[in-house]
Symmetry: C2
Subunit: 417 residues, 2 copies
Amino acid sequence: MELHDEILQIGKQARAASNALRSLSTATKDAALLGVAKGLRGAGARLKAANAKDLAAGKEKGLSSAMLDRLELTDKRIEEMAKGLEAVAALPDPVGDIEHQTIRPNGLRIAQVRQPLGVVGIIYESRPNVTSDAAALCLKSGNACILRGGSEAIHSNLAIAECFIEGARAAGVPDHAVQMIATTDRNAVGEMLKLDQYIDVIVPRGGKGLIARIYEESRIPVVAHLDGVCHTYVHQDADLAMAAEVSFNAKMQRPGTCNAMETLLVHSAVAGKFLPAFVAELTKAGCEVRGCARTQKFVTCKAATDDDWVTEYLEKILSIKVVDSLDEAIDHVNGYGSHHSDAIITESYSAAERFLDAVDSATVYVNASTRFTDGFEFGLGAEIGISTNKLHCRGPMALKELTSLKYVIRGSGQIRE
Amino acid sequence: MELHDEILQIGKQARAASNALRSLSTATKDAALLGVAKGLRGAGARLKAANAKDLAAGKEKGLSSAMLDRLELTDKRIEEMAKGLEAVAALPDPVGDIEHQTIRPNGLRIAQVRQPLGVVGIIYESRPNVTSDAAALCLKSGNACILRGGSEAIHSNLAIAECFIEGARAAGVPDHAVQMIATTDRNAVGEMLKLDQYIDVIVPRGGKGLIARIYEESRIPVVAHLDGVCHTYVHQDADLAMAAEVSFNAKMQRPGTCNAMETLLVHSAVAGKFLPAFVAELTKAGCEVRGCARTQKFVTCKAATDDDWVTEYLEKILSIKVVDSLDEAIDHVNGYGSHHSDAIITESYSAAERFLDAVDSATVYVNASTRFTDGFEFGLGAEIGISTNKLHCRGPMALKELTSLKYVIRGSGQIRE
């Protein structure tokens, strides 16, 4: 079959499955997830054999040892996938929740009820566990999903998807609720992104190149974040010990993540007191510092350029800028940031409230590390991605964000006059 | 200035205004709306003079009398616009509402707070009152807006926008909160739809051609409905007198609206009893009926083709199909409909619940006319459009739908371990 027809058929099958999944009981969905967990535990040999093919191909292609490590399926990681499925089964099912109901003067009962989005396309790279995690969240929220993983993990992904589909079918989940694109042809992504009739939302997971391509090409709404250029602003009324601890954590606890701090803003009134010790601590920990001209008066560091203010380093590099006011800090965050996660450190009530109101980011903090932006840390029990979109949802996406509200109206013969 | 640069500058100004509007007090916004209302009432002569130019040009272009009527600004319509502004001022401001707050075990207080979307682009045709209505809803919800009306109403729209901008400025609303594109160059829309950096959402209002073009071209998320192919299903357990009354209302009360019924589905067990009298009533009222082969056994009518099932007539035409089961009705609605507004007429509890669950439309009804899908009828106090999108919001859009939820997190020095 031609690639176009193959992907189109997958789309049509997903739409048909989503029409059945919409009314599937929570009990069936949970039984399926538990069954898949059991299946994954029993399929260790099969999964590792498939994974070995990917690892061998990866070595041949010269993948870095970090990438090979991310690709590897060990017994521990298989157990983690299974536990992840059990955790999703234990979460409340958002489908059918009534968020509001009003009764109108004419007696119409107007409710907004959570419903699955329909068909979710997941396009992701590297780690094979995403196959199982993403399929589980889609199934639990009543969505059909179409999975497209990276070519370097194709055998592992297909083996995991096969386990998932077997386990789901055994519990009575309709066919094609979960489908994986089997070809590694790069054009398959392009074909997928055209199927706005059959796919309701694309959730990409991966590097900036992948996300940028998908935002550029997709005819289907995309929920994702492109960059995580996150800030911490140390206000003149900050507890400077707290500022140092929180900022250090935001930068260094895991610098490769999207919610790590990339730029520190410091009020000029405390820059002289705060920066020398803080920068010494960062330097000692192996972090490169790039400062504005005023920062360079207090510490020895590279000069930051305009490019630095918009760069997501994803490594041990921090840009620092000295500002003269809260408003200058807010303007910098809104102007150069990526609207992901930004924090103020302050003891001033008014400054805190003003920052929270005025900063236009998915997540805004007072006196805490930006590293907390995460579905698990927020208590959502899961995470399929993080959104910096303004529409639909901002911040971590979990089960509720895979649904939307349908109006359900119960009448007794009302007509419009 | 080149068109591209002109539209780009409007976008940049709107973004700057939106950063100020985010924190504008409700009192200022309401004072502005009341001031604009007063200004419109005092500007009757100016508005009617501008409108006279559009009417003269419209007559010269040969616009239909219906279109000329929609275009005309009378004293009554100016008064209605002013009253509309006062009604929006009286609505609660959604900005700052906390929808959820939880305290995590580590003490982080995690809230979801309603915030303006940012910059809203409104692209619309014909009726000049949309200028004032749309600007009012955007201002009240803290959004900057860029208005682009139809060329046939350009003088009227500019005059209304000028009144709006004057009144808003006098109350202390930042400059460029409301901007209107002054050129009638058709390429301006294309330039606008590229500004994904500066415009957060496009809300189009108009005919299918306009909406289809915008969905096709826009790099900015669009919230709208393309079609309103709405259904009423008369189940075998329906109260047939209610079925006739509600279906007649859904088709005939205002056939040119998006929530009017286009296809009637009837269960075969009651088709013989229901259809002859109902179709006679429709025919008497001037409605053309197109039926499936089984419908034609009960009544004399044109034959419906497959095209009829996907057509939004927007006039006194109804297609009718006889079905053998609730599932066949549901499959028809989900397969051929436009996911706008669909109703079942039934006294069966189980059938009602199944229809509400399984039909994938923005608004699903039991025993009521689909004509109720409307922001005012739903008690939202306003309407800027109706969405058949799955993401963000489904159904009527008003103030709340012009906002989204930002995570606001208050800590006391928390760091991630």
